[in-house]
């Protein structure tokens, strides 16, 4: 009585393959237009502009160009997001915290090399680095030297994943220089500063959560993120140091986009008065002069990344994981001596 179980197999195999095939379709139809001229764009951005994009996308969908466009969105640490796109995360529009994360995609042949050639140099929003403190600033932390005092805990994210962290450190470095320190002093300052950091989260948003959760005396933050926290009724104050860095956030359409026309329309919309105003409502400094609702004071000693020779130079000098100034400090940091 030799009865084979073989006939079971096709049924089993079929049952196994169907869901995989289904999900494969779901995966590969990324951004595929499905009926009615609907287009789904994938927006991949760094961690903080989510609230702004929610409103901007809604506004975009009110316009003729955006009528039939929906979005999938991903937010996370700038460096992480950039690597994910380089590793195959589908994206039509990318916005990062800083230019080097865009450069990675240029190198990976995903973003065109001329992404920074529009009239705004590819930059869609500005901000500055601020020092956020507990409500009422009980420790009197106002400027860069206050951050390296003994017993002060500073929260700033990991510069090897977070764009915000790189802005923070360059602001601190430049701020110290502007206050009369030598380069060697400023290097030592960075080391002292990082010694006071008990936890380096992956992204600026994670750091904000850590700070809100009760850890640390000061938080180095995007101005927009500090404003965002206040808008959400979180108890924190912030100071804009006199000497701080201008943050410039780049945006681009990818070459790999399946809907480049729609993606470009969206990026164009980002520069419209409507979108720029919505950005400024959410704490960003607009790059296009508009009737911003918020008053953004210009710090007397504001500098930008060109002060240090631009990002390409800075990336090698400071953020090379093996030989950069920050890379070496991070290597040398033992277990933080926090309580």
């Amino acid at each position: 009585m030799k009865v084979s179980r073989g006939s079971l197999l096709p049924a089993l195999a079929l049952a196994a393959v169907v869901p995989l095939a289904l999900s494969a379709c779901g995966g590969s139809s990324s951004g595929g237009s499905k009926g009615g001229g609907k287009v789904k764009l994938s927006l991949v951005a760094y961690s903080t502009p989510q609230a702004a994009y929610e409103k901007i996308i809604a506004a975009f969908q009110q316009t003729a160009a955006g009528k039939n466009i929906t979005f999938s969105q991903s937010y996370g640490a700038s460096g992480d997001q950039s690597r994910a796109v380089a590793d195959g995360l589908p994206a039509d529009v990318v916005e990062f915290s800083l230019a080097p994360d865009m450069q990675r995609l240029v190198d990976a042949d995903i973003v065109a090399a001329d992404w920074d050639t529009n009239e705004h140099k590819g930059i869609v929003t500005n901000s500055v680095v601020v020092i956020a403190t507990r409500k009422g600033n009980p420790k009197g932390i106002k400027d860069w030297p206050d951050l390296v005092k003994p017993g002060v805990e500073v929260i700033t994210p990991n510069p090897f994943t977070s764009g915000g962290a790189r802005w923070n450190l360059m602001a601190a470095y430049g701020g110290t220089l502007a206050e009369g320190a030598s380069e060697a002093d400023a290097n030592a300052y960075l080391a002292d500063l990082l010694k006071n950091v008990p936890v380096q989260d992956n992204s600026a948003r994670d750091s904000l959560q850590t700070f809100i959760g009760g850890k640390g005396d000061a938080l180095l933050s995007y101005e927009n993120d500090a404003i965002f926290a206040q808008q959400n009724n979180q108890a924190l104050d912030y100071t804009v140091p006199d000497n701080t860095i201008l943050i410039e956030n780049p945006v681009a359409v990818t070459k790999t986009s399946t809907h480049p026309k729609e993606a470009q329309a969206f990026v164009d919309f980002l520069y419209s008065d409507t979108a720029q105003k919505l950005f400024s409502d959410n704490g960003y400094r607009p790059v296009v002069a508009s009737d911003a609702t918020m008053d953004f004071p210009t710090p007397s000693g504001l500098f930008d990344i060109t002060k240090f020779g631009g990002w390409t130079t800075v990336m090698t000098k400071f953020f090379d994981p093996d030989n950069g100034i920050v890379g070496k400090i991070e290597q040398g940091l033992g277990v933080p001596t926090s309580k």
């Binding site: 009585m1 009865v3 084979s4 179980r5 073989g6 006939s7 079971l8 049924a11 089993l12 049952a15 196994a16 169907v18 869901p19 995989l20 289904l22 999900s23 494969a24 779901g26 995966g27 590969s28 990324s30 789904k40 994938s42 991949v44 989510q50 609230a51 929906t70 979005f71 999938s72 969105q73 991903s74 937010y75 996370g76 994910a84 590793d87 195959g88 995360l89 589908p90 948003r205 994670d206 959560q209 965002f228 926290a229 959400n232 979180q234």
Partner: protein, 270 residues
């Protein structure tokens, strides 16, 4: 049983155990329910009906159901193999099936990325054929299958063993095909255990966080599942949304608990 003399220790034990469960289990759930419905039903309703939320539910359902179907097919096949057949390497296979229990979800995600990522041999081959595995649904399904892998096998196996194969043999003697024997005899007798295993797998699959967090790319509106969405909302100070989404998952978990109580194989416990 007259155990009056033990009533003091008994009360002591009761107090300790109840306090432990109270703080660890009951209060957290009560607090989240309270915080969710603090301002009434409508904010909860609003939070759960945003397009991102609905998409997250849809993705979660697709991923979980796919993984459960795969694991059910695998589980039944593996259980039949292990119980009904003797072959070299059987004990190894048996042991390997338990492996996923001991592997951290994050490690699962990393391991899958290393094999199926876009920059790997396998991943790029699929990429050239238009299929993304990592940062896409297939990767999420595989990750979910991994973590829930043993559940169906381990639910079905003991029952399969219990029923023996006399009936199947009899049917075979009467000329029933393998398929007939499976659908007419084997399946009905393992139905309860299978349903139980499926419920377990479904609960586990719906809630998977770590492995999916690594492989999904967390595209809101595309590859973001409800558990990922919860963290996302939480990080953006959208407490109402985070608590509402959490509560919806709590309710699913409770439903799974109740279902599993009914489906629990007989004789397990009162």
């Amino acid at each position: 049983m007259t155990r009056n003399r033990t009533s003091a220790p008994r009360w002591g034990l009761r107090v300790v155990v109840l306090a432990y469960l109270m703080f660890l289990l009951v209060l957290p759930v009560v607090v989240i329910l309270y915080r969710t419905f603090q301002h009434g039903l409508s904010p909860v309703f609003d939070a759960l009906t945003t397009s991102d939320a609905q998409h997250a539910y849809k993705i979660t359902a697709i991923v979980a159901v796919s993984a459960v179907v795969l694991n059910t097919v695998f589980g039944v096949a593996a259980a039949i193999l292990l119980v009904r057949h003797r072959f070299p390497g059987r004990r190894i296979l048996d042991a390997v099936i338990d492996l996923p229990i001991a592997v951290s979800p994050v490690v699962v995600g990393l391991a899958l990325t290393l094999v199926y990522g876009r920059n790997t041999a396998v991943g790029s081959w699929f990429g050239r054929h238009g299929i993304n595995i990592i940062f896409s649904l297939p990767g999420m399904v595989i990750a979910t299958s991994f973590v829930a892998l043993p559940l169906v096998v381990r639910a079905v196996g003991p029952v399969l063993e219990e029923i023996g194969e006399e009936q199947e043999q009899a049917a075979a003697t009467l000329g029933a095909s393998a398929f007939q024997r499976f659908t007419r005899i084997t399946l009905p007798s393992i139905r309860g255990a299978l349903a139980y295993g499926v419920v377990l797998s479904l609960a586990r699959s719906l809630g998977e966080f770590g492995a999916v967090a690594v492989v999904s790319g967390r595209l809101l509106g595309k590859t973001e599942t409800v558990p990922l969405y919860v963290l996302d909302l939480y990080n953006n100070f959208n407490q109402t949304g985070a608590y509402a989404a959490s509560t919806s998952l709590v309710l699913v978990a409770v439903a799974a608990l109740v279902a599993s109580r009914f489906l629990r194989p007989r004789g397990a416990m009162t």
